[in-house]
Subunit: 285 residues, 2 copies
C-alpha cells in the first residue's frame, strides 16, 4: 500500500507553538497512521521538503530528526527525498507498507448492524492544541497526555495489523480529521448511516473542556489528529474480538455506536435522536 | 525504484507565464525523468497537492489534467494523493518504477577514460523560459521547439531503459539542473573529474542566445530542465553503442567529453584548459 500526506506550516502547525522536531514527527506519523488503517507494516518513506527562506540549517535538521524518530519507532526507512525552496515549510511524505491484499478492509465494507469501534479515547490532541494559550489549565499528568497526543501522536500500527487479520472487521480507517467527519466518510463509502451512542473522551480533553466551558464530546467528535483507528465490527463477534484485543494489543476496543440502513450520522439528545453534522477538519477550509 | 520531486509556484514556475496544465505536466515529467535515469519502467505515482486560496476549482483541474496527460503518455498510473491548503501551489509527486536491480547504474560508476554522453541537444528549455519576455525573437519552428521543451518536456524513458540494459554504461542520471551541475555531481559521486569537449546546443537555444547576445554553450551547460540523460560509457564500446542507439531509439548519442582522474570539471578555452564551475539550478537559492 502507498499513501501520501503533506503538512504545511501555518495550515497544520505554527512554528511558534510547535517545535519543528514535533512537526517532523507528526508529518511522518500521519502517513504511518494511513498505513496502519490498512493493516500494513510500514516499510519505507520518501520526503519532499519545501523550505522557506527564513528556515535555518538547524530548523531543517530538527524537522528531519523528528521524521527519523517517528519512522524509526515504526521500523520505517526513509529512502530518499527532495528539497526545494517554498514560501513556507511544506513536508510532503509518501509512505509504503506491506500487507496481504485480502486483509485490506478499506472504508466501504461497513454493514448495517455493525458496531462502530475505536481503538482509544479521543480529543487529547485538541486539548493539546489549546495548551498553547492555556498552559496552566491542566495538571502535569493531563498536560503531558494532551501535549504528547498533539505533538507525538502514536499511529496504531500494531492495532491495525491485529484488526486487519480478523474477518469480523469489515471496514477500517484512521481518525485523522475528527470522528464525526471520518465516521461520516465511512458511512458514505459504505452506503449506510451510523448512530453514535457514546464516545470515549480522553481525560485531558474532558478537563480542558470543563475549564473552557465547552462540551467534552465535541473534543472527541470534532477534534482532529487523534490517529486512533475506526473499525466496523460484526455485532456477534464484537464482545469476543474486544476482549481478545484488550489482551493482545492492550487497552479496550471502544464501541461508539452502530451502523444502520440509510445515510448520515445520528446522535442521542436526551430522549430523542438528532442528526449530527460532520464538524472535523476540512482540508481546503 | 521510488523517487519524489516537488514543483513550487514562484520557485519552479510562475502562473502568469506557464499554463497550469503545463505545470502539471512538468511536475509529473520531472518524476518520470528520475525513473528514466534508473532505466525503470514507470508504474504508479501519488500526488500531494498544496492549493493556495486564490486557486479556483478549474485551476486545480487543469493542474491534474496536465499530470494525467504526462502520466498516461508514459503508462504511469496516478494511484492516489492528498490535497491541502498551502500559501502557494505546491505539487509534490512520488513515482514508482520497476527495473531489474542489476540494471540500475546510479551516479557513482563513471570511470576515468569513460565517455560522457547525452541523449539529445540541450538548452531548449531555457530558450523557452526566455520566450515569456521575447515572443518574437524566434521563428515559429524554433519557438515551438523551445516552448515544448520548456512546457512539455519528454522524459527519456525508452532511452534510459535501453542504456540501462548495456553493461558498457557505467553511470546514468538525468540532466534536470543543467549539464555542468549534474555532470559535476556525477564526478563527485564517481570520485573523478570530467573534461567537457563539445556540447550539443538545441537550435532554439543557439538562436535565442544570438538574439540576446549570450553564449550558446551557456544555455546548454547551465540551463536546467532539459531532461536528457547523461551517461558514462566505456570508451571502447562507445562507437558501437552510439550507432545501435541511433538505430533502435532514434537520434544520436552525443559525446560531450571524457571522465578522467582527479576532481572538478574542465573545458577547453582556445588552446588552454580551464576549470568550469557548475552554474545550474541550486535547489535552495
Amino acid at each position: 500500500v502507498i499513501t501520501t500526506d503533506a503538512l504545511v506550516e501555518n495550515v497544520h502547525f505554527r512554528r511558534d507553538t510547535m517545535p519543528l522536531r514535533d512537526a517532523g514527527w507528526r508529518a511522518m506519523a500521519s502517513n504511518i497512521s494511513d498505513l496502519a488503517a490498512t493493516g500494513a507494516r510500514p516499510a519505507l518513506a520518501t520526503v519532499a521538503l519545501g523550505v522557506s527562506a527564513d528556515a535555518t540549517r538547524d530548523d531543517i535538521l530538527e524537522l528531519y530528526r523528528g521524521m527519523v524518530e517517528a519512522a524509526s519507532a515504526y521500523d520505517c526507512e526513509i529512502a530518499g527525498g527532495d528539497i526545494t525552496r517554498a514560501p513556507s515549510l511544506v513536508i510532503s511524505i509518501t509512505a509504503i507498507g506491506e500487507v496481504r491484499p485480502s486483509r485490506v478492509k478499506g472504508r466501504a465494507g461497513a454493514r448495517p448492524g455493525d458496531i462502530a469501534a475505536v481503538t482509544g479515547p479521543l480529543g487529547a490532541s485538541r486539548a493539546g492544541l489549546h495548551l498553547a494559550d492555556t498552559q496552566d489549565m491542566l495538571d502535569e499528568h493531563l498536560r503531558n497526555e494532551a501535549l504528547s497526543a498533539h505533538r507525538r501522536p502514536q499511529p496504531r500500527v500494531e492495532q491495525g495489523r491485529w484488526l486487519a487479520a480478523s474477518d469480523h472487521v469489515h471496514a477500517m480507517m484512521d481518525i485523522s480529521d475528527g470522528l464525526s467527519t471520518d465516521l461520516s466518510r465511512m458511512c458514505v463509502q459504505s452506503n449506510c448511516a451510523a448512530y453514535v451512542e457514546s464516545v470515549p473522551v480522553a481525560p485531558s480533553a474532558a478537563e480542558m473542556a470543563k475549564h473552557r466551558g465547552e462540551e467534552p464530546q465535541l473534543y472527541a467528535l470534532a477534534g482532529g489528529e487523534d490517529y486512533e483507528l475506526l473499525a466496523a465490527v460484526a455485532p456477534r463477534a464484537f464482545a469476543y474480538l474486544s476482549s481478545r484485543f484488550a489482551k493482545r494489543v492492550g487497552g479496550p476496543l471502544h464501541a461508539v455506536g452502530r451502523f444502520r440502513e440509510g445515510s448520515g450520522l445520528y446522535v442521542r439528545k436526551g430522549e430523542r435522536e438528532e442528526p449530527l453534522a460532520p464538524t472535523g477538519w476540512d482540508h481546503l477550509a
